[in-house]
């Protein structure tokens, strides 16, 4: 006797409303499993679409290899080509971040705490910030030639901003109530910074770190593409030059996977280290 009252989209929506009312604590694992399965199915569908596009013959199939040949090229040359390339790219990425993050943190805190420093640097920062980092590739090559330091110059320049801005924003936004509490408790300025300001900046720092990580990867790979510095970018270009098209695609794919894993790792780190803040934050880049 049930009235199929609400239908279609509206029905899909209506069925969610009771879900909110009852708050199931239930088997969260099975939902996770279902989600993963759906995600995997989605990937399978994407692969199918790829093959379909191939079959349609819109572009010469030599230039769009099948998923199978990409996979086999990837597996075959993993040890000899892909792994070392990943290593080179990640080296630049890691060193770059290792330099940038502490620098961004210190700068962000210093500028955040000092209104005069903020004012003094504001104009300069506003003009430097929008310069696209890849535009500096030629300058970096001029200064350092094709080398790791060239990549580092680029990465540090580009990644400084997200970290710096996020930290500065957080420092400026520290709840005055917390600072008052510290003053009443008799903390010195240094101690206040260490025990109140710095912890307050952690969430923003993590967000900035996540953004910086992806920027660093883009820059490392892009620099390799143009200059031939060793790494995934160089592999993509070289493989194509040697007409090893499937390998080139495999390298592109691996680059995406690396980016995906790095992002996932930082998001997970974020969530584990600072679970109480994840929901409340916005992105600042």
């Amino acid at each position: 006797m049930a009235d199929r009252a609400a239908s279609g989209w509206a029905g899909a929506f209506a069925r969610r409303a009771p879900a909110r009312a009852r708050r199931p604590l239930g088997p969260a694992t099975s939902t996770r499993v279902v989600r993963t399965l759906k995600g995997l199915a989605g990937i399978a569908i994407a692969i199918a679409i790829w093959e379909l596009i191939r079959a349609l013959g819109v572009v010469p199939s030599a230039y769009v290899p099948g998923v199978g040949s990409i996979l086999s090229a990837g597996v075959e040359d993993f040890g000899s080509q892909l792994a070392p390339a990943i290593g080179e790219t990640l080296k630049a990425w890691a060193v770059g971040l290792a330099i940038t993050v502490p620098a961004g943190l210190v700068l962000g805190v210093a500028v955040g705490l000092s209104r005069w420093a903020d004012a003094a640097l504001r104009v300069t920062v506003e003009f430097l910030r929008p310069v696209p980092s890849v535009a500096l590739i030629p300058i970096a090559v001029l200064v350092f030639g094709v080398s790791l330091r060239m990549q580092l110059l680029l990465i540090v320049y580009a990644c400084l901003w997200p970290v710096f801005f996020n930290v500065r924003f957080a420092v400026q936004g520290v709840d005055p109530l917390l600072l008052d509490t510290a003053r009443v408790a008799g903390l010195s300025r240094l101690a206040t910074i260490r025990r109140v300001v710095l912890p307050s900046t952690l969430p923003a720092l993590f967000t900035g770190l996540r953004i910086a990580s992806s920027i660093a990867l883009v820059l490392a790979v892009s620099a390799e593409l143009i200059t031939g510095a060793p790494g995934l970018g160089k592999l993509i270009v070289d493989a194509q030059g040697a007409m090893q098209i499937p390998l080139s695609y495999a390298a592109v794919f691996v680059t995406g996977i690396v980016g995906f894993l790095l992002n996932a790792a930082f998001t997970a780190l974020d969530r584990r280290a600072l679970p109480w803040t994840v929901a409340a934050r916005g992105e600042r880049a």
């Binding site: 995600g39 504001r122 500096l136 420092v171 993509i236 194509q240 992002n263």
Partner: protein
């Protein structure tokens, strides 16, 4: 600590900023003149080269086409991102299926597909626009998706009770409600589009701002290299300012509501 207004009102701090910037420029100029390093031309030489770029034949042959490709790629990418992301987010059942693929595509540096795009699509402006759009659309798509997912159900119910059909709800309720999140994605996409535009002109290109810069560097025409970078900086800066203006108008209602501390 910075909640209090600086002494001197608003003029003095802004002035200080300009003074410091000018001082830094002066420092650059003096150092470059005295040190005579190959890779560091003076500011005046660089600015001169930038001026030439903007006023010479290169304006129409390189600068404007670059900006045009960037703008087109950006707009197309963002439009696709919003048009696909919003319904996807609202249609909750589909989301778990597409999420891994979308996250992968977003994590992939768009510049990495340039060599293959060149191969498949050929070396032309259309290819570059396509790659720019590719780079720009994913952050927008994912942000639109998440924004639509988290629209307050009470708002949607108000729409249903007012007799709105599902497309009208999407257009008049879900979309405006997700606008803050969409704009966050749009800003990220702006930076990405610029990067991809420049890089697309450094790889397998024969014209454009990026090409001019790289070309100058390869010929050791150093002031021209810096000049090109300055022009790019100008483009980036103007685009950013324009974006902020648009964002402020579009999100005026949101800024008032949240006191201005969320969003870009």
């Amino acid at each position: 600590m910075s909640a209090v207004r600086l002494r001197g009102g608003k003029v003095a701090p802004a002035l200080l900023g300009w003074v410091v910037a000018a001082l830094l420029l002066l420092l650059w100029q003096l150092y470059a003149e005295s040190a005579q390093e190959l890779y560091l031309p003076t500011f005046t030489d660089s600015a001169g080269a930038a001026w030439d770029l903007l006023t010479g034949a290169t304006l129409t042959s390189d600068v404007l086409p670059s900006v045009g490709r960037f703008a087109l790629g950006y707009v197309v990418g963002c439009a696709v991102g919003v048009a696909v992301g919003t319904p996807l987010g609202y249609l909750r059942p589909l989301e778990p299926w597409v999420r891994p693929v979308l996250e992968f595509l977003r994590a992939l540096p768009a510049t990495a597909i340039l060599p293959l795009a060149l191969l498949v699509l050929g070396a032309n402006g259309g290819m570059r626009v396509a790659v720019i759009a590719f780079g720009a659309c994913w952050p927008v798509l994912l942000n639109a998706l998440d924004g639509a997912r988290h629209v307050d159900p009470v708002l949607v119910e108000t729409g249903r009770v007012s007799g709105l059909g599902r497309f009208a709800i999407l257009r008049r309720i879900v979309l405006p409600a997700s606008l803050p999140q969409i704009f966050a994605g749009l800003r990220i996409a702006l930076g990405i589009a610029l990067i991809v535009m420049v890089l697309s002109e450094m790889y397998g290109a024969s014209s454009g701002l990026g090409f001019e810069i790289l070309n100058a560097q390869r010929r050791f025409m150093v002031p021209e290299t810096y000049g090109g970078v300055l022009v790019l900086g100008l483009v980036g800066w103007s685009v950013s300012v324009l974006f902020t203006r648009v964002e402020r108008r579009a999100l005026a209602w949101h800024i008032g509501r949240t006191g201005g501390r969320s969003g870009a």
